[in-house]
Symmetry: C2
Subunit: 180 residues, 2 copies
């Protein structure tokens, strides 16, 4: 993770649409984005401080009464930083499937355990797929907005790959149960 802090791009991307607090940023990441990226408070708050010092974002106090609230706004410099990143050639997609790790080392356990692990994965995928399909239907009903194209494509990416997962689960279970 050394080198370029990726969370910066997530934050800038979100702030390019609307002003947000750190907490709200976390909520956004936990939504549709969670299918292809993650973030935590321990990640977000330091990044916000740092980016403010760099002049990529500005903060404004929007506290109500006793309740502390710091809303962040993207600057021209921040928008530029985002554009530069979008144009950068090299991308790193980091995939870590503990499920496959367990499968790969499955020889150290029993076949039943391996099959069970696949079933756990299958259940999770089915659950996520339901959520993704709900997103997709909502998008279908509200067409025309330019940004929706991009959103829609990420959701369809999820649906496409998750369906491939399920197809594989079926195949894998059959193979392990000696039916293939």
């Amino acid at each position: 993770m050394a080198r370029e802090r990726k969370i910066d791009m997530v934050i800038l991307g979100l702030l390019s649409h609307e002003d947000l607090t750190g907490y709200e940023i976390k909520k956004r990441i936990d939504g549709a984005i969670s299918f292809f990226w993650k973030g935590s408070f321990g990640n977000i708050y330091p990044a916000l401080k740092d980016m403010e010092n760099q002049g990529l974002i500005t903060k404004s106090d929007t506290s109500v009464g006793e309740r502390e609230r710091i809303t962040y706004h993207i600057t021209k410099s921040g928008r530029n930083r985002l554009k530069v990143w979008l144009k950068e050639e090299q991308v790193s997609n980091e995939l870590k499937y503990e499920t496959l790790l367990k499968l790969f080392f499955g020889g150290s356990g029993s076949r039943e355990v391996t099959v069970h692990n696949i079933e756990i994965f299958e259940e999770q995928v089915k659950k996520d797929l339901r959520v993704l399909r709900t997103y997709y239907e909502t998008l279908e009903r509200s067409q025309g907005v330019e940004d929706h194209v991009y959103y829609s494509l990420t959701v369809s990416f999820g649906i496409e790959t998750y369906e491939a997962y399920l197809k594989w689960c079926d195949k894998a279970k059959k193979m392990l149960e000696g039916r293939a």
Copy 2:
């Protein structure tokens, strides 16, 4: 990443098959495993030291001449640790697609940039798919070995998902070029 150090399981899994040095462990991870997990020296060496202290592995000096070489061997306790992990219910598959992040925030750039980013992804996937298919063919030609079932399934997982990626790339490009 706090909590349970996952690299331990990768190392134990590899050592359950053969004795290895830290360098060799890195090489194994960079092979077929790299499609679903990663590891670095800064990760492996401290883990080896720590696991040796815990009694999960033992080290033996196999240096040749001046050349330093520390070979690690899994203990009964280590094998047990591996089995316990295999049986653990909760798994976390952490997927980080910078490609999708760029797509999601594509509205901040131009359509051409977005399409180009998809093409970069597409090229990488095609390249990886060729490697995976080579693995698969090699496996087909050497059947019968029990462990091959597990290996074969991870490879087929990769092929299945990478094919889904390509299918999506096609769809996405068409959509962005207004052909859908």
